[in-house]
Amino acid sequence: MWETLAQAVINGLLIGGIYALVSIGVTLIFGVVKIVNFAQGEFVMIGMYISFFLATQFGIDPLVSLVVSMPVLFVAGVLIQHFLIRRVLGPNDMPQIFLTFALSLLLLNLSLMLFSANYRTVHTSYSDEAWHIGGLYIPVAKLIAFAVAMALSGLLWVFLHTTDLGRAMRAASQNRDVAMLMGINPNRVFAVAFGTALALAGAAGSLLMPFYSAYPFVGQVFVLMAFVAVVMGTLGNVMGALIASLMMGIAESLGIQFVGADSGLIVVFALLLLTLAFRPSGLGARRGR
């Protein structure tokens, strides 16, 4: 019993690290640019396909392809912010919601056209490796993914707290007007925030590839998780999103272990609805006036 429980917690914690990368991206964009990026999950998918093709065409290890997927998606993020998002920033919700939503639909269906709905996997030397500690089973690929995810989150934290640009991003997320007064160019800050968020999603994709299948709809699982985590961790708060993501991973894993294999999603949605019902104030239940 205790071993099953501990195993479920470990499984959840490890995948929670990936959720954290996605959630931190969502929360970063929300905090700085003040929009909810419905397409965040699709960028995880793109990261996965980048790693998949680098692995199958050039034999590059998915973990190494991180150095490709992250910069590619960073640039994509800057471009998307500059050419699309920037045009809909304003008091009106509709264009913002439906622009990123349309982007999500577009990327998902484009990849469906280009890559078909097939599941793609990459087999690495460590894909099947696992450490056995006591009665517990720790897959190496997931452990590496978790460790890298935590390292990237830590780097982001350092960036946000020690560099001028990072401080500018935090200032912008706390108070737009104050940030303007400080002479911060919002367009540049927004572009970096969007790029960074997408780079994190790309990293999540690459890290997933050794133990998870790539398919066009894969991002939806992660973006829903991210929404829940971000809402629970209070929108715009990086540390909150991180902790909430780890908790979400554990909750999902416990649900699968003790309720049934197909109930992971039910647990997630139930948590989302409960959060919305009882903690709406954490996430702009009423817009600031």
């Binding site: 699309l84 509709m94 264009p95 639909l105 998902l108 469906l112 609805l273």
Partner: protein, 328 residues
């Protein structure tokens, strides 16, 4: 004013005559099928538009009501032999009742959080119907027993009969929208969509207005669910609570003109025609092409004309109407 009023009636009469006569001239089953799809999604769009368009409550969870309507009538028909005509109304009532707790939950949120919450509620309902095998057949779903020609059980041999049923639904939806648009409720809805605080400040009971209109919207969407299930003779959670229904309901309204009477109809005609053309050119073998094109159209509308095709026309009209007195 008088002439423009008369013109409007003339157009309506011509339009009605064309719509009624259409199945007599177009007999291709493929074409009728497309007309039915256009009418059905226009109707769903009209139902969505009441809440999403006029009051700008951007739901992406209307599949919840579509599915509840579909399941209510199907369960009544398959398990108890009750006519879907009755089941349709019952489904509407079930959806209305369901909209109360769902609305209570979602309307506490604004903007994107409202949208996320509506997605989640529809998904939860789908998962529930996947799990409950005892009364709703679980993931496999069920086929509707084919009784041949049984109008009292909403089953017809002629496709054109289905056409007239869904045309009737659309007319009802448009008529209700028209009545609401012209009355105080219409003004209140638009005011809530524009600025809820300002609306409250001048005496608009925003939560109550939203709740009431959400109920009507849910009711109408459920009718579409029953019709669709009867039309395809099949139901399962994935089709009844399909996210695509939620998406298309919102999409046709936004593309055509959010918060306008005819917007959803115009949007549906554009999107469904595009989709039909794509299908005949490329065949249905290329997965994802339809939604790829839809999302491109949606992005184009949002970036260049957030008020949709109808909004484009009104913008031009207002510019003209505003300049006219200056010239005179």
């Amino acid at each position: 004013m008088q002439t423009s009023g008369n013109m409007k009636w003339l157009w309506l009469v011509i339009g009605a005559a064309v719509m009624l006569a259409l199945p007599q001239f177009v007999t291709s089953s493929f074409a009728i099928d497309i007309f039915i799809r256009i009418l059905l999604f226009s109707f769903i769009g009209v139902a969505w538009n009441l809440m999403g368009g006029y009051a700008k409550q951007l739901s992406l969870g209307h599949a919840a009501y579509f599915g509840l309507g579909a399941y209510t009538s199907t369960i009544m028909q398959v398990n108890y032999g009750i006519s879907p005509w009755i089941g349709m109304v019952a489904g509407g009532v079930v959806a209305m009742l369901a909209s109360l707790p769902i609305g209570w939950l979602c309307f506490r949120l604004r903007g994107p959080y409202f949208t996320i919450a509506t997605i989640a509620t529809a998904q939860v309902l789908m998962l529930i119907f996947l799990k409950f095998r005892d009364f709703a057949w679980g993931a496999e779903g069920t086929t509707i027993p084919n009784l041949g020609s049984a109008p009292l059980m909403m089953q017809f041999e002629e496709k054109s009969s289905y056409y007239y049923v869904v045309l009737g639904l659309l007319v009802v939806g448009l008529w209700i929208t028209h009545l609401i648009e012209k009355s105080w409720i219409g003004y209140y809805l638009v005011a809530i969509g524009e600025d809820e605080d300002a609306a409250e400040a001048i005496g608009v009971n925003a939560p109550k207005v939203k709740r009431d209109i959400y109920m009507i919207s849910a009711f109408l969407t459920a009718l579409a669910g029953t019709f669709y299930t009867q039309y395809i003779y099949f139901i399962d959670p994935a089709t009844a609570f399909s996210f695509n229904v939620s998406i298309e309901a919102a999409l046709v309204s936004i593309v055509g003109g959010i918060g306008t009477l005819w917007g959803p109809v115009i949007g549906t005609v554009l999107l469904e025609t595009t989709s039909a053309l794509l299908q005949s050119w490329l065949g249905s073998s290329v997965g994802g092409i339809q939604l790829t094109v839809y999302s491109l159209i949606l992005m184009a509308v949002i970036l260049w004309r957030p008020t949709g095709l109808i909004g484009f026309a009104t913008d031009v009209y207002h510019r003209y109407a505003r300049r006219k007195p200056a010239r005179a």
